[in-house]
Assembly symmetry: C2
Homo-oligomer: 414 residues x 2
């Protein structure tokens, strides 16, 4: 065995990290290195949930004409002065105005036209008399109530005024925003590009997703999981398949035109952990080894103008490290908040949750009744713990944990 270079007494790298960075230091590096991507133009149908890259200023008034806000009769308001059930006043009906089919003439004193909600107001009229205040006769109506000028009339610009800002950059577009954009005649809008994320899944032991595990090979769980997480965070997944534990193959997989590279597996300090060394040699390995549990063998750096995240191959560690680090960068690039995208609830702990000062913990929990129940630590390294869990609690590095009955924030999965 003396010929096996991996067993040299000097192979101290197997003995773990010389130092560990804090999660805060990782956040600081990510935030100082990552910026929102440039804009691209998209149609309305593609823009839901995307982030506006520029303010949108309306070039028109909405509506751009006066319109009825009720079904009824377009009148000169002063014509109705004094009208009541006991003193009905007669107006001659000249015609009608429908949405998209306006009345071409003019309403003069003593006349009216029938008008539908949304229809253009005719020349001459300044108010809409609701149909409930009329008796309809043959070619005329009896007015049974007063209506003041401007009543039930929508004026130009009532919804949106020309030259005003309708939506501000950095806004994540809602369904109704798309409606507003449509209504001002905008069909193409500048949105922040999707970060392109290359997945590099390493491991000689891995079979493609969904394969039946056999012999001493296991099935890649990380690429379907990471793909869904990247899409949740606004990224576009580029997946070259599983890369063997071979430095040359790995290096060529890292050489991509993506914005972010995520390497899953081989992220620690063992002899088969090529990615950290390759990153240090061909780019920068800014951080390697993080004071957290799980996911301590995580790393990050740059290669060319790409951010590279080294995530542990264990699926739980991979999930955790993605959500702490890679997801933060991808969300920032996509123009979203860098913070956790999970919904949060505040609930009391059913039992204490132990950690260690100097280390950040990611503890999976379930919610039982109105209490937070930690998932037993024995199954902590298995992915099924994250399907049994309802979410997770983060124990920051300056705490030894949380006492029973402490109120904690649970980040809900999904």
């Amino acid at each position: 065995m003396a010929s096996d270079p991996s067993l040299r007494p000097t192979d101290v790298r197997m003995k773990g990290f010389a130092r560990r960075w804090t999660v805060e230091q990782c956040f600081h590096w990510i935030d100082s290195t990552t910026q929102v991507l440039e804009a691209e133009l998209a149609g309305l149908q593609a823009a839901a949930g995307r982030v506006l890259a520029a303010d949108v200023i309306s070039q028109i008034d909405v509506p751009h004409f006066s319109r009825a806000m009720m079904d009824g009769f377009a009148v000169i308001g002063n014509d109705t002065a004094g009208a009541s059930t006991y003193n009905p006043l007669r107006l001659n009906v000249l015609g009608q105005s429908l949405p998209g089919d306006p009345y071409p003439g003019t309403v003069t004193p003593g006349t009216t036209i029938r008008i539908m909600t949304g229809a253009p107001m005719p020349q001459g009229a300044d108010a809409v008399l609701p149909v409930e205040q009329t008796v309809i006769e043959d070619g005329s109506i009896l007015v049974q109530g007063e209506v003041a000028p401007e009543k039930h009339v929508g004026v130009p610009g009532e919804d949106i005024q020309s030259k005003t800002r309708v939506l501000a950059r950095q806004r994540r577009l809602r369904a109704q925003d798309l409606g507003v954009l449509s209504s001002i005649g905008v069909s193409q809008i500048p949105i922040v590009k999707k970060p392109r994320v290359r997945l590099v899944i390493t491991g000689n032991e891995l079979l493609p997703p969904g394969s039946t595990p056999q012999n001493h090979q296991i099935t890649d769980a990380n690429s379907p999981m990471l793909s869904a997480l990247i899409e949740r965070d606004g990224g576009e997944v580029l997946h070259p398949g599983i890369i063997p534990d071979d430095p040359d193959r790995l290096l060529s997989a890292l050489e991509t035109d993506a914005d972010v590279v995520i390497v899953s597996g081989g992220s620690s300090v063992g002899q088969e952990d090529h990615a950290p060394r390759l990153l240090a040699e061909h780019g920068t390995l800014e951080i390697h080894g993080v004071a957290m549990r799980p996911s301590s063998p995580s790393g990050m750096g740059t290669l060319g103008n790409r951010l590279v995240f080294l995530l542990p191959g264990n699926p739980v560690s991979c999930l955790c490290a993605y959500d702490f680090f890679a997801g933060r960068a991808i969300r920032t690039m996509a123009g979203l908040s860098p913070d956790w995208p999970h919904q949060q609830v505040e609930l009391p702990l059913a039992r204490k949750l132990v950690s260690t000062v100097g280390r950040t913990d990611y503890a999976r929990v379930s919610i039982e009744g109105d209490e937070v129940e930690p998932i037993s630590i024995s199954g902590a390294s298995v992915l099924s713990s994250t399907t049994r869990a309802d979410g997770f609690v983060i124990i920051p590095e300056d705490l030894e944990g949380y006492a029973r009955d402490s109120m904690v924030a649970v980040y809900l999965y999904e």
Copy 2:
């Protein structure tokens, strides 16, 4: 004008609804009429966020072999008994086991092999001695600590046991669920079909989405908005474009193989409101006119085996009626919770919010500091009010409103 039949004195339909249904009655009808759609098979990449249509039972153990849980040496635990820094014991190193590349021989007393996290345990060994407790020499190691049998060894089925239920039907699939499914060799899973939703946008005054409004035409805001809402709720949008206010054209648009038809516009009781009459004549008009604000001219019924929702053309009313009614049906069919999908926060009202007993109100609000500020009622009918708002408060029909400082649930937009 006597020849205009729409002005006959008997045209009482213009005068509003004979009765109004409550929102609760609408919910009851929707819930009793709507059921989860059948299943379809999907690949892992398409299944994120979709709903499982059947329980998933694993056919295998995960892992399916014993594996190391740490980097170190695979040993017979009893071989380390009594070892310490002061009493190091020597073991001969026979070889190594890497993930996907197991050691083919057997570990016998006095021997060991080097092993990496995740690698198969060799025959004979029953524990992993962490590398930190060793001194590595040339072809052998000095053991400086004890390790009990089974320590740091992952046993078959530790993550998932064969024949157990991994995920239950009706679950909305999370990113990590896809990882678990992949790891048990599942590549195709039964998920609830997407409800197919035909959008029927009516109105002679409407121009296609994103067009510049001109003359007396306005631009359709509802189809981009509704499309995004339908997709949010798990539906698939089928959009035939804008349909003119013509009964024949409208009827043929309703004759579709979709699961749900949403008609936007022409939902009230005016002469141009063809949809309710067509539905009553050719299918069932179960509900028409709802005691709510906005959106009271909403309706619902069936045509063939399709649910049909009649939504007002005003974009705010359309949004509100979609979220109350059509969205509820679509979410149910997609296997999701029928309830509002919005995140909620509880906050005090900055001023009173007035409603009327017997009517459900949908009040747009903004959140100013830690208080809920109602959006002024004057702009209530314009869509931009829903882009200025952060969300909405529902005032149920049995309340006259909420007093200032009341805690209210705000449903957050987006």
